[in-house]
């Protein structure tokens, strides 16, 4: 490592999880998952309006073929991950717990693909053309929020943007998908960054990577100069990968409360999204697969796999040679902000970064005790809130007090609930208050 390690950047507050679990899978090179017989591709894979399904039962589809068209600006196209026959539109368990619509495709075993779209010479091309290609290829934020990428890349004209930040922090314990991507395909990440900055018309590009991925930092640094990208090593601290904290760590700017990154003149994209943008522009292929970490203490051989979207989770677990004991929890995403699942039939989506299986011992619901005012939640809150005081107000039903004390700024990162020695459900209280306050505001 060279001079850049001297100043490792970070934000104020936050927590340091004692058990990272990344060692389970960070050394495992990404493997391409074999073709499955059946995929259930969720329709609503983007924030905003779900796309409109344009195939019906019995239709023959090819890989990369459009199966659902964006139904507005804040919506994203959806493509078939496989060639075969559409069996129907079925209901599957959704990643967030609500049943979801999915297109069930039975593979014909041939894996025939449509010819890729023509390559665009992104260094010369019109930014509009690049943006249209990204929208056509159905890119969404692959870090978790799955906001359509073309929307994030077209800020309103009155907003001045001067910085593009790629989020390679991967601050969630256990997840290593982004780590492997940066290590194995740095050119795609860097080209994606350059493409996005061309769309935005800016030349200040940063990639923030936590210091527990030194090898990835080195690989990126070696190749970054020709793309005009600066690699920023970040302290290992949760939630380093949260947009607002990342912007603060790298640029020193505060995103104003209730604002978006563009209010701090920044656009933040996940590095997976950047690599997908490079694929879309250079290779001309839409987003139908991504690297997913299949890991956890009970997984037999944790690792990273390139999974097509719509892969049922049970098949991903099969790739990892099953489990050593019956798991107590199945989580899509990381352990801090991921969603626990009821069934192994839930399919992966564009934003599924990890499939995490915890043991039954780890899945207990902790009995919570009294708040002893230790202040660890206050020290840990990246938004500088006072979770203990908020929770006290919420427990007595005083959502108005919670609102006055800025509960709506809560990121729901879970740092407070993680550190609480009394195991109080702090972030859970905040979620409830936020939902309740939103409901009351809608009523008015």
């Amino acid at each position: 490592m060279n001079k850049s390690t001297r100043s490792v950047m970070t934000f104020k507050n936050g927590i340091y999880p004692v058990y990272h679990g990344k060692e389970l899978s960070e050394g495992a090179a990404t493997r391409i998952a074999p073709l499955l017989a059946r995929y259930t591709v969720p329709v609503a894979q983007n924030a905003g309006k779900p796309p409109e399904v344009i195939v019906k039962a019995g239709d023959k589809v090819k890989k990369y073929q459009l199966i659902a068209r964006a139904s507005g600006f804040v919506s994203a196209n959806l493509h078939s991950p496989v060639s075969g026959e559409v069996k129907g539109i079925i209901e599957v368990p959704g990643a967030t717990g609500v049943p979801a619509q999915a297109v069930e495709i039975i593979s014909d075993g041939l894996d025939e693909a449509l010819p890729p779209l023509p390559e665009i010479d992104w260094k010369q091309a019109d930014p509009k053309e690049l943006l249209d290609r990204i929208a056509a290829c159905g890119l969404v934020g692959m870090g978790g929020a799955s906001f359509p990428t073309h929307v994030k890349l077209s800020p309103p004209p009155e907003k001045e943007i001067d910085t593009l930040i790629l989020n390679g922090a991967e601050c969630e314990p256990f997840l290593t998908a982004d780590h492997r991507l940066m290590l194995e395909d740095p050119h795609a990440v860097l080209a994606g960054a350059a493409i996005m900055s061309r769309i935005l018309g800016i030349d200040r590009i940063f990639i923030g990577v936590e210091m527990n991925k030194i090898d990835a930092i080195e690989v990126l640094q070696e190749k970054s100069a020709s793309y005009g990208v600066r690699i920023v090593p970040l302290k290992v601290q949760y939630p380093q990968g949260s947009e607002k904290q990342l912007i603060n760590a790298i640029t020193g700017r505060d995103v104003p409360a209730g604002g978006l990154p563009m209010d701090a003149r920044c656009v933040v994209q996940n590095i997976g999204t950047a690599a997908a943008a490079a694929d879309a522009v250079i290779r001309g292929i839409p987003l139908v697969e991504r690297i997913v970490t299949v890991t956890g203490p009970v997984v037999k051989t944790p690792g990273n796999w390139k999974l097509r979207i719509g892969t049922p989770v049970i098949e991903a677990v099969r790739l990892a040679e099953g489990v050593t004991e019956e798991p107590g929890k199945l989580i899509l995403g990381g352990p801090m902000m991921g969603f626990s699942q009821r069934s192994f039939d839930v399919p992966t989506a564009k934003n599924t970064s990890g499939i995490l299986l915890l043991s039954q011992d780890q899945a207990v619901n902790y009995e919570s005790g009294n708040c002893i005012r230790c202040g660890r939640c206050v020290q840990g809150c990246p938004m500088h809130l006072m979770p203990c005081a908020l929770a006290a107000a919420i427990e007595s039903g005083r959502f108005d007090i919670a609102q006055q004390n800025h509960v709506m700024d809560c990121l729901e990162c879970g740092a407070c609930a993680y550190v609480c020695p009394a195991k109080r459900p702090l972030v859970q209280h905040h979620r409830r208050a936020k939902a309740e306050i939103r409901r009351q505001m809608q009523k008015k």
Partner: protein, 367 residues
């Protein structure tokens, strides 16, 4: 990247999903528990306790043992009568911590009913009437100490001479009470009984010389002085305090600002009126100041949450302590100071809340 070799599907164990738990994130939590925090506090308290036992003998251990047992018993009894979970409440360790702190705040030889009454005061009046752990506005051990001091002043001011006093203080008559040979006075009570000289002349400078000179201050530092069990041995208190800070159990601002404020105020008064109060070092090394600043004012439940709040709180404690010590009737003001500032904590918390992220647009050092 390579193709997955996935041939032997027969003998792998696949999950059935039968025992999946669904809950809201986060799905992992830190290993820290309330009981562990209390355990670490107890560990740190062992040092002043060991100091007390060294200087006062096993009688001191017996007192601390009694207060601890009575506190835990009082907690269990209350939970039993109130229908709260007994086992869970007792095992969180907070009653034991209160008991040990209360014991360390007692003179080395108190009759058994003092720990008993103290425990009832601490646990019932100081803590459980407010709703138990975390809801008490006042530090239970301080409540009990003040209660005992007011209710049983005689029992609470019988001071045993520490080990080494006979040898080291042959010439100082003041430390010996004339009526019997088994008790002694504390430096603070002697200072309190010394008539004040409100001038700045030779006599004023000599006023406290007998109890406030470098040779004696060194003795005070090691613990050769009359006092409560936990407050005599300064090195042991400091080791315990360092442990607490290292374990992230106390806010270092509280002891530093508390002791600092007392030092500044007594220093200023001592500089202009040396006949009114002894030197700041004397105030630091005698009485319960250091022990209280490290172990009692810092109680998580009853001190402010933010660092700024802790500074205000500790400075308030320091001011009240100094005022009582210099001008008050009581030789010692630490307990009253903490109790008074405990009452202000909700207000301090309100004034010193955090500023949420994103409420100031620009900062220094922005790129």
């Amino acid at each position: 990247m390579e193709e997955n070799s996935n041939s032997s599907t027969s003998d792998i164990l696949m999950p059935t999903g039968e025992s999946l738990v669904v809950s809201s994130s986060p799905h992992v939590v830190s290993p820290e528990r309330t009981s562990r925090i209390m355990g670490k506090v107890l560990l740190a308290l062992l040092f002043p306790l060991a100091g007390g036992i060294w200087f006062f003998g096993w009688k001191a251990a017996w007192v601390v043992f009694l207060t601890t047992v009575f506190c835990v018993a009082a907690e269990a009894l209350w939970c039993k009568l109130a229908g709260r979970p007994v086992r869970k409440t007792v095992l969180d360790g907070s009653a034991a911590v209160t008991g040990v702190i209360l014991g360390l705040n007692c003179p080395p030889e108190v009759p058994f009913y003092v720990p008993l009454i103290g425990a009832v005061l601490a646990i019932w009046i100081g803590k459980q009437v407010f709703g138990g752990l975390g809801y008490n506005p006042f530090n239970p051990a301080v409540v009990a100490r003040v209660g005992l001091l007011i209710a049983l002043p005689a029992a609470m001011t019988v001071w045993t001479p520490p080990r080494g006093m006979d040898k080291d203080f042959p010439e100082i008559k003041e430390f010996r009470t004339p009526v019997d040979a088994v008790t002694c006075a504390t430096p603070l009570s002697i200072a309190g009984n010394t008539p004040k000289i409100k001038t700045n002349d030779f006599f004023a400078h000599e006023n406290f010389k007998k109890i406030d000179n470098p040779e004696l201050l060194e003795k005070y530092f090691w613990g050769v002085k009359g006092g409560c069990i936990g407050e005599v041995c300064v090195p042991a208190i400091l080791i315990g305090a360092v442990l607490l800070v290292c374990f992230n159990l106390i806010n270092w601002r509280v002891p530093v600002c508390y002791v600092g404020t007392v030092a500044v105020i007594t220093g200023v008064v001592n500089y202009f009126y040396p006949g009114v109060t002894p030197s700041p070092l004397f105030h630091l090394l005698t009485g319960g100041l250091l022990f209280a600043a490290c172990f009692m004012a810092t109680d998580m439940v009853t001190c402010p949450i933010t660092g700024t709040g802790c500074i205000f709180f500790a400075m308030g404690c320091g001011i009240i302590t100094s005022v009582i010590r210099i001008w008050g009737n009581y030789p010692e003001g630490v307990s009253f100071a903490i109790l008074f500032m405990n009452a202000l904590v909700p207000l301090i918390d309100k004034w010193s809340g955090t500023r949420p992220f994103g409420y100031v647009l620009k900062r220094k050092g922005e790129v």
